[in-house]
Structures are given as structure tokens and as C-alpha cells.
Amino acid sequence: MITIRNEKSLRISIVLLRLFIGWHFLYEGIIKLYNPDWTSFGYLASAQGPFRPFFLWLTSDTLIGIADWGNIIALTFVGLTLVLGIFEKWGALVGACLLALYYLAHPSFPWVTQLNVEGSYWFINKNLIELVACVVIYQIPTSQFFGLARLFNKKEIETQSETR
């Protein structure tokens, strides 16, 4: 096990990381939620790389609605859990899965055409980095320190102590 010299600073950093990622997901979710014309069709239809057939399959008439709503709900769920600090492990997990899908739809492989990217990437892109950050949040929960979980947990701890 590693030893951490300044656990408090690390905790604050992880809380910030969690809040920022939550912020990002929540905003993306809300924007889509309030725009009835939004659709993931373009993103999916232009998918590249080895999983292209899967993403193209999602663009079918029957599935595109489910894909759109699934995305909005998942984004908002991740955003709420990470910002509010409750069920954060689930949030981080769902967030990582979503990011994996985004990455696979438009992977930064050098042999794949880079569509609509704002930077220069070689295998690693921002989606992948955010994915790893979600993994970190999964491994270092901080909601008991900053988040709704702090209130619920306290209640639990106190109840435990009362019955003792």
C-alpha cells in the first residue's frame, strides 16, 4: 500500500476532480434534456474504427430514440451523483462506461480519420483521460467528506452507536 503524505490535500483534490467531472456531465446532460431537437445521430452515423457497425446499428429508427434518451439519462445521473456526492461509485462507473463508448465511437487511432476534434491526439484523448479520472473517483470515494452521503452516513454511524 502506498503512503500518502498529505491525505487532506489529496482528499480535497479528489473532491474537486469529482465535482468538475460531475459538473461537465451534468451540463452535457441538461443541454440535451432541454433541446428536443438534439440527437446523437450525427455522432453515431459518423462513428469510426472497429465498432462502427455497432454504432451504425444504433442509428436505426427503432434504436435511435433509446440511444438518445439513454445518453441523456446516463449523463444526468453521472452529473447528479458526482456533484451531490451520493452513489458516487455508481456514478463513476456509469461515467467510465459512457466515456468508453464515446472513445470507441471515435477512437484516436492514427489510422482512423479524426472527425471533429479540437486537439491533436495519438491513441490518448480527453475522453480517455476523463475515463481514468472516473476510475480514480471510483477507487477513492469522497462523498462522506463532501456530499450528501456525509449526512446519511453520520446517521448510520450514530444509529449504530446507539444500539451498542
Partner: protein, 528 residues
């Protein structure tokens, strides 16, 4: 249980944050939507939906194919008949490149209630190629030596004509006089004189006549029509449309088949009304390079661009045409130009305007083409209030000097560099104030061919409309009126190039204004 102040702060701290992000996201989206709706409401553009076409009921329509070259094969595929060779070729192409969906698209295309009952091609190899694939148990196909024989055989209700240009009118006239429906490739005719004769035949025939300008089925053009009529871009003073090609195929250097010989090709029939020359494979396969059989850039490609815009604007035949150009990129013995610039004048044409009445009237249509450069120059319609880029998708930019949008430009609600409207038939909704993303996807052509999730071949729609109209009645998109305008305008451009002078149209008498000492058809066919 006891909560400290610290607990409350740290436990509930996320809530205001959530509120802020939620509010920002909702407010931003709603505000943008409002802005968009305001612009869209002002523009009041209704994207066109695909036309509902009554099906072909009862017995299948029996179709005869005249000419089974490159275009003839393509037309047969649009009708649902592909050769085994093509299918195999496309299967291999898809294996090599999974993105090649030609075969899949063909297989999923709606089936038309038709039979290909006749083939007429004067090159044995091509006629046999059609028979080999199409003459099956459920589709009996006969080869006819001549089109006259096919038209009078009683075996066909309709013919598809995909021959060299000099045969378009004679075959169409013959079929129409026998009340056989006609789908003829563009340009509709090869000379001015036969344009009138064909119009007469079409008017007197019970059969349905359609010219193969399949782009009339393009949804974006129908939407463009609505946009222009609503005065969205104001008075159009200039149209620029172009052809840029830079490959052998684009310059009509088609392959010469090894089986071609005087024994396998009916050379006399090929020549028809053209000057008698000895058997020449180059002429037979690359006929578009000579005025004797083809119509050069003016008939071959200007006709497309002209009809595209005539479909949107219904501007008709120009008052006058001036053309210049030359053979600058392919000096290989051809006599048609490979660089061409055509100016068509419409001094009385108007799309309406936002300024003082009487200030604006008249329009120039400029067509510019080269077969020595492949740079993409889009079609632009330039109005006082905006500019429209016309393609499979439509984009409209407001003009900095616009009268109609002056207030919105002033209030920064519109900016000349940012499109105010973009239309993709395949996207779920039109984009006002296009984002870079939608612009990008649209540029890539990722969306427009998808209608209801399926890629649609416009030629298929055009032929289906023709057949439906043949069976059920109803108007076709490119009938004799449209074909007449296309043919005359193209011939005016060709004539101006050849004579080096302005060619004028007399709208009242519906004739080319005569030029002393000039026989227009002789000039048009001259080798030069």
C-alpha cells in the same frame, strides 16, 4: 443524531452547485432555441417531404432498354435490375472496403412492379450482357436489332433511351408516335430543329415523356424553391454554377472494349444522321468528344446545372447567351471544348425583393467548367438579402448589406459569416445558426442521402415517378416543357461558343432570333 454546521456545509454543498449547472444548461439551451426559433419563424421555411407516389398496380409495366452502356446499366439498376458482373464486382468491392455499400443499397431498394422485356444495343457484347443477367424464368427478355422493331413489337409499354445524344430525339419521337412511354437521357435533343419536332410528338402522344434529370427529385431543391419564393435571400442578381473534373472518365475517355469490331457493332446504325465515317472505336465508345454525336460541356453538363436551377427558379429560356472556351486540357482529337464559360442573361427575371419597387430586376446565370481541375466550386445563388449554397444540403448566409435583415444584423442576432439556415434532408431538424459540428457532418455528406434511414437513389425516384405517372396519370417532374427549356438553353450555349456571338431568344415567337447567313443546326453540328 446531531449535525454540525460543518456537516451541513459539506453535506449539502453540492446542491447549490447542481442548481447552478442545471440552471445554466437549461437557460442557455432555451435562449439559443428561442433565438433559433425567432430566425426560423421569420424565415418560415418548411422543409419538403418526399412526394407520395401512387404505386404501379395491376400488370407489371414492360420496359425496353435502348442503349446498355454505362448510363443504360445505371438506369437498369435504378429500375431494380443489376448485371451479375456488377453484383460480383460490388461484392468484392465491399469485401475490400466495408464502406462501399453499393450492393447493399441496391438490394434494399424498393422493388418496382416492372419487367425488362426488351434490349436493344447495337454492340453484341452489351446486348448479350443484358440478356445473360436479365433474361430469366420470371423475366423474359428479347433482343431487338433496332429500336423501330422494339417499339412496334407489342412487347414493350415503355422505353428507356440511353444512347448517344444524336439518337435521343429520333428514338423518342418514334416511341411517342406509337404511344410508348419514354424516359430519355439528357440533353433531350441534339439540334434545335428536333427540339421542336419532339415537343410536337410529346404534345400529341398519349404516352408519358420524362427527361432524365433525376436531380429534380432532390428534396433540398424543392425546399430551395420554397425558400426563394418566400424572398429569404431577396432579389437574385447572379447565379454561379460550375463543373470541375480532373480525370479521364470525367473527360469522357471511356474504356474501349476488346470485343469491339465492325462484326460486333452495327456501325451504320450508330452513325444514324451523323456524317458517314469509317468504323472508329474511339468514336463509338467516346462519342461525347465529338459534336457529331454528343453536345460537349454545354449539352452534357451545363444542361444538368441549368435544369437544377430551372427546377428551383423556373426561370425558363434566357433572353441571350454568350459563351467562350476552348480545348485546353485534352488535345486528343476531340472537337468539343473542355473549358467553357457560359453567361445567360435574364433581364426581366425577378425573384422579388426587399427594396424599393422597380430598383431590382434581372439576373445573370454564369456557368463555368473545366475538365482539367477537380476543385469543388459549389453553386451559389446571390441575392440582395442573402446567399444560398445549393447542393444536397442547403445553406443560407445573410448579406451584410441586406435590407430585410438589417435590424437583425445590427442587433448582432445575425452575422454575415454565420449561416442563418441549413437544411439536411437526413437530419432530424433543420439547423438555424449552424454549429461547426453540423456544418462538418453536412460537408461530409453523411446525412443527406439518408431518408428514413435508407439511402435513396434519386434516379430510382425519378424513374418511379415516370412509371407511376404512366400507369396512374399525373405530372412528371421533367416533362416536355422542362426538357424543351433545357435543350434550347444548352443549344444556345453551344451555338454561341461555335459562332463566337450572342445568341438571342424571342420569347413571343419561341424561336432563336435568326442571324443572317447562319443555319443554327448546321453550325451546332459542324466539327469546327
Amino acid at each position: 443524531m446531531k449535525f454540525t454546521r460543518r456537516d451541513a456545509l459539506k453535506g449539502l454543498g453540492g446542491i447549490p452547485l447542481m442548481g447552478a449547472v442545471w440552471w445554466a444548461g437549461a437557460a442557455n439551451t432555451v435562449a439559443k432555441k428561442k433565438e433559433r426559433t425567432a430566425i426560423l419563424e421569420q424565415l418560415n421555411i418548411q422543409p419538403s417531404l418526399p412526394k407520395a407516389i401512387p404505386g404501379i398496380g395491376d400488370e407489371p409495366v414492360r420496359i425496353g432498354i435502348i442503349g446498355f452502356g454505362i448510363r443504360g446499366e445505371q438506369l437498369c439498376r435504378a429500375l431494380g435490375y443489376a448485371t451479375n458482373e456488377w453484383k460480383e464486382e460490388m461484392r468484392l468491392a465491399a469485401e475490400e472496403n466495408p464502406k462501399n455499400s453499393a450492393l447493399k443499397d441496391f438490394m434494399t431498394q424498393d422493388k418496382l412492379n416492372i419487367k425488362l422485356t426488351g434490349i436493344c444495343d447495337i454492340f453484341d457484347y452489351r446486348a448479350n450482357r443484358a440478356l445473360k443477367s436479365f433474361n430469366t424464368d420470371d423475366n423474359k427478355m428479347l433482343r431487338f436489332r433496332t429500336h423501330q422493331e422494339m417499339i412496334r413489337s407489342g412487347k414493350v409499354d415503355a422505353v428507356v433511351i440511353a444512347t448517344p445524344d444524336h439518337w435521343h430525339a429520333p428514338m423518342s419521337i418514334d416511341a411517342l408516335e406509337n404511344n410508348i412511354h419514354v424516359y430519355v437521357e439528357k440533353p433531350m435533343t441534339h439540334t434545335v430543329g428536333e427540339t421542336y419536332r419532339l415537343r410536337e410528338a410529346a404534345r400529341n402522344s398519349k404516352a408519358v415523356f420524362q427527361v432524365g434529370h433525376q436531380h429534380r427529385q432532390t428534396l433540398s431543391f424543392q425546399t430551395a424553391k420554397d425558400i426563394i419564393q418566400k424572398g429569404t435571400i431577396g432579389h437574385i442578381s447572379l447565379i454561379q454554377t460550375n463543373t470541375n473534373r480532373n480525370d479521364d472518365n470525367g473527360a469522357w475517355m471511356y474504356d474501349i472494349h476488346p470485343d469491339a469490331s465492325p462484326q460486333t457493332i452495327d456501325w451504320e446504325m450508330f452513325l444514324g444522321s451523323a456524317p458517314k465515317v469509317p468504323f472508329n472505336k474511339n468514336h463509338f465508345f467516346r462519342w461525347r468528344k465529338w459534336w457529331a454525336y454528343g453536345s460537349g460541356l454545354s449539352g452534357d453538363l451545363l444542361s444538368h446545372d441549368y435544369d437544377r436551377l430551372n427546377c428551383v427558379l423556373n426561370m425558363g429560356i434566357p433572353d441571350s447567351v454568350m459563351t467562350s472556351g476552348g480545348i485546353y486540357t485534352h488535345r486528343d482529337g476531340r472537337n468539343v471544348p473542355d473549358v467553357l464559360n457560359v453567361n445567360m442573361e435574364y433581364p426581366n427575371f425577378s425573384t422579388g425583393g426587399s427594396q424599393k419597387k422597380g430598383k431590382e430586376q434581372g439576373m445573370s446565370f454564369v456557368y463555368s467548367a473545366t475538365l482539367g481541375n477537380g476543385f469543388n466550386r459549389p453553386t451559389h445563388l446571390m441575392g440582395h438579402d442573402g446567399t444560398m449554397e445549393l447542393g444536397n444540403r442547403l445553406t443560407i448566409w445573410p448579406d451584410s448589406g441586406s435590407t430585410r435583415y438589417a435590424d437583425m444584423v445590427e442587433a448582432n442576432k445575425m452575422s454575415p459569416g454565420i449561416p442563418i439556415y441549413q437544411y439536411n434532408p437526413g437530419a432530424s431538424s433543420p439547423d438555424a445558426v449552424a454549429s461547426a459540428t453540423s456544418q462538418y457532418f453536412a460537408d461530409k455528406g453523411l446525412m443527406w442521402t439518408y431518408i428514413n434511414g435508407a439511402r435513396v437513389d434519386y434516379t430510382f425516384l425519378h424513374m418511379r415517378e415516370w412509371l407511376s405517372s404512366a400507369r396512374n396519370g399525373g405530372k412528371v417532374s421533367c416533362g416536355i416543357k422542362e426538357g424543351f427549356e433545357e435543350a434550347i438553353s444548352s443549344h444556345m450555349a453551344g451555338l454561341s461558343y461555335k459562332l463566337g456571338r450572342r445568341i438571342e431568344w424571342d420569347h413571343k415567337q419561341e424561336i432563336l432570333k435568326p442571324i443572317e447567313g447562319i443555319d443554327f443546326d448546321e453550325a451546332l453540328l459542324a466539327p469546327m
